[in-house]
C-alpha cells in the first residue's frame, strides 16, 4: 500500500495527549487537509477520549462533530490513534478495530496508529508508533519504511519542550470539552504554540 506522512502537529498533539493521561487509555482521530488519492498526509489530529473508550454514545457524538468540523474546514478523517493504559501491550483493542473499520468505510487508505507506551522514555530515538493499514479486510502491520515523519528531530524537540514547560496541560480532548464546554477541542491555542516552535525562526 501507499506511503503515509505524519506531520509535526499531528504527532506532537497525539504524544501530548498520551502524556497528559498516563494512567488511562486515550484515543483520537487523524485528519488530513490534503485531497484524497496518492500518499496519505496526516496533517492534524483531534484527541477524543481518556475514559471508557469502548462505550458508544460519546464516541458517536465525537465522530459526528469532528465530521461536521472537517467538512467546514476542508479536512478529512483518515485514521485513528490509540494509546493503551497498559504499557506492555500496544496491540489494537476490539474497540480500536471497530472505529478504524468505520473510518475505512469512508476512506479507503485509512490508517490505524497505536502509540507504543513502552518506547516513550526521554531518550527514545525512534517514533514510538506502530501503524496498521487495511489489506484484504484485515488490519495488517505497515512496513516502517512507508511511514514518514519529516524533520523528526525537530518534532521530538518540540514535543519534549512542551512537556517540560507543562504546556501539555493546554491540550483539550473531547472528554475534557464535555466536562467544560468552554474548552476548545480543536486546540487552536496549542496549535499556535506548536507552529511558533516549529517556525524557521526557532529551528
Amino acid at each position: 500500500m501507499g506511503e503515509v506522512e505524519l506531520s509535526c502537529l499531528a504527532y506532537v498533539k497525539m504524544y501530548l495527549h498520551a502524556c497528559l493521561f498516563p494512567r488511562c487509555s486515550v484515543n483520537g482521530l487523524l485528519l488530513s487537509s490534503s485531497p484524497a488519492g496518492g500518499a496519505v498526509c496526516v496533517t492534524d489530529c483531534v484527541p477524543l477520549l481518556h475514559s471508557h473508550l469502548p462505550l458508544a454514545p460519546i464516541t458517536q457524538l465525537a465522530l459526528t462533530q469532528v465530521d461536521v468540523w472537517c467538512a467546514q474546514t476542508q479536512q478529512r478523517i483518515v485514521g485513528y490513534y490509540q494509546a493503551n493504559a497498559c504499557v506492555s501491550d500496544c496491540s489494537p483493542t476490539p474497540c480500536a478495530l471497530k472505529i478504524a473499520d468505520k473510518i475505512a468505510e469512508q476512506c479507503n487508505n485509512a490508517v490505524l496508529l497505536m502509540i507504543d507506551g513502552g518506547k516513550m522514555s526521554p531518550d527514545y530515538r525512534v517514533p514510538p508508533i506502530v501503524m496498521y493499514e487495511r489489506k484484504d479486510s484485515r488490519w495488517t502491520l505497515k512496513d516502517k519504511h512507508t511511514i514518514m515523519l519529516r524533520q523528526w528531530e525537530e518534532t521530538r524537540e518540540i514535543a519534549g519542550q512542551l512537556l517540560d514547560s507543562g504546556d501539555h496541560s493546554l491540550l483539550v480532548d473531547f472528554d475534557s470539552h464535555l466536562d467544560d464546554i468552554t474548552r476548545d477541542w480543536t486546540n487552536q491555542k496549542l496549535n499556535a504554540k506548536i507552529a511558533e516552535l516549529a517556525s524557521p525562526a526557532n529551528v
Binding site: 471508557h52 454514545p57 459526528t64 468540523w69 497498559c86 506492555s88
Partner: protein, 297 residues
C-alpha cells in the same frame, strides 16, 4: 526554580490544608502533591506535628505515581522507623515494589499481611491491582468478584469491576455493577449517566429506552451534565427513528429530542459568548443537530 510557596504566594498552613483536601477528596494529582509536600517536608517538618506521618504516606504514593523512587524511599524509611511492624506501612512497601514492577515480591508482601490478618482489604485489593497491571484482566475480574462476595459494600471495588467489564466488552455485567452503585448512591448523577451509556452501547430498542430514562435521571440530579444531555438527545432520536415504535412513542421521543437539542444549543451559546475559539465547536454542534434532525423525520 521558584518554590511552590513563592510561585503561588501561599503559607505553609495553606499548603498543609490543600494536601488534606486532596487526601479527603482522593485526588490523583500526583505531580502537584509531590511539589507541595516535598517543600512542606523539607522546609516545615517541625511545624507539622503528627500530621507529618499521614503526609509522608500521601506523598509516598504520589511519588510512586511520578516515578520518584528517591522520594518514595525516603518517606518509606521514615514511616518504617516510626511505625515498625505496621501492616499499613508494609502495604506501602508492597506498592513500591509494584511501582518497580517487582510483582512477585509485592505479591509475597501482601500475602504475608493477609496471613496475619485475612480481613485486610487493602492488601487483597493490591493483589488484584497487580493482575490488572500485568494485563491479566480476566483473572482480575475473577478475583474481584470473589472479593465482592465477602465485602459486598465496597463501592470502589464495584466501580473498578464495572470498568474492567467495560474494557472486556461485557456490558451486561458492567450494567449490573453500576446498578449496585446506583442503589447505594441514588443521588450520584455520574453513575446514572455511566449506566445509561452502557445500556446505549448494548443497543436494541429496550436498552435504548432504558438509556434515555437514565440519561434523563442523571440530568435531574445534575442539569449541567453535558454527556447526559447529549445522551438524552441521541437515545431519543434513535428511538424516534426506529421503525419498531408506534406513533405515540415516536411523537414523545421527538419531543424529548427537541427539548434536549434546545438545551444543548443554549448551553453552547452561553459558553461561546465572547470567546472566538469556541465558534468552531458551536457551529459543529448546530450542524450536527441539524443533520441528525433530518435523518429523524
Amino acid at each position: 526554580m521558584a518554590s511552590v510557596s513563592e510561585m503561588y504566594d501561599v503559607t505553609w498552613e495553606e499548603m498543609r490544608d490543600k494536601l488534606r483536601k486532596w487526601r479527603e477528596d482522593n485526588h490523583r494529582n500526583s505531580e502537584q502533591i509531590v511539589d507541595v509536600a516535598e517543600e512542606l517536608i523539607n522546609e516545615h517538618a517541625s511545624k507539622l506535628g503528627d500530621d507529618i506521618w499521614i503526609i509522608y504516606e500521601q506523598v509516598m504514593i504520589a511519588a510512586l505515581d511520578c516515578s520518584r523512587d528517591d522520594l518514595a524511599w525516603t518517606c518509606l524509611q521514615e514511616l518504617k522507623k516510626q511505625f515498625p511492624g505496621s501492616q499499613r506501612v508494609k502495604r506501602l512497601g508492597g506498592m513500591r515494589l509494584e511501582a518497580l514492577e517487582k510483582y512477585e515480591e509485592a505479591g509475597k508482601q501482601y500475602d504475608s499481611i493477609l496471613q496475619e490478618d485475612p480481613t485486610n482489604t487493602a492488601a487483597r485489593k493490591r493483589k488484584i491491582s497487580i493482575l490488572k497491571a500485568q494485563g491479566k484482566n480476566t483473572d482480575a475480574i475473577r478475583e474481584l468478584n470473589e472479593y465482592l462476595e465477602l465485602f459486598v459494600g465496597d463501592q470502589e471495588a464495584w466501580h473498578e469491576l464495572s470498568d474492567l467489564y467495560i474494557n472486556e466488552h461485557d456490558y451486561g455485567k458492567a450494567a449490573f455493577c453500576l446498578e449496585e452503585l446506583m442503589m447505594t448512591n441514588p443521588h450520584n448523577h455520574l453513575y446514572c449517566e455511566q449506566y445509561a451509556e452502557v445500556k446505549y452501547t448494548q443497543g436494541g430498542l429496550e436498552n435504548l429506552e432504558l438509556s434515555r430514562k437514565y440519561f434523563a435521571q442523571a440530568l435531574k440530579l445534575n442539569n449541567r451534565n453535558m454527556r447526559a444531555l447529549f445522551g438524552l438527545y441521541m437515545s431519543a432520536s434513535h428511538i424516534a427513528a426506529s421503525p419498531k415504535v408506534n406513533a405515540a412513542v415516536k411523537k414523545a421521543n421527538v419531543k424529548y429530542a427537541a427539548w434536549a437539542a434546545n438545551q444543548i444549543n443554549r448551553a453552547y451559546q452561553l459558553a461561546g459568548r465572547g470567546t472566538k475559539e469556541n465558534k468552531c465547536s458551536v457551529k459543529a454542534v448546530e450542524e450536527m443537530l441539524e443533520s441528525m434532525q433530518i435523518t429523524m423525520s
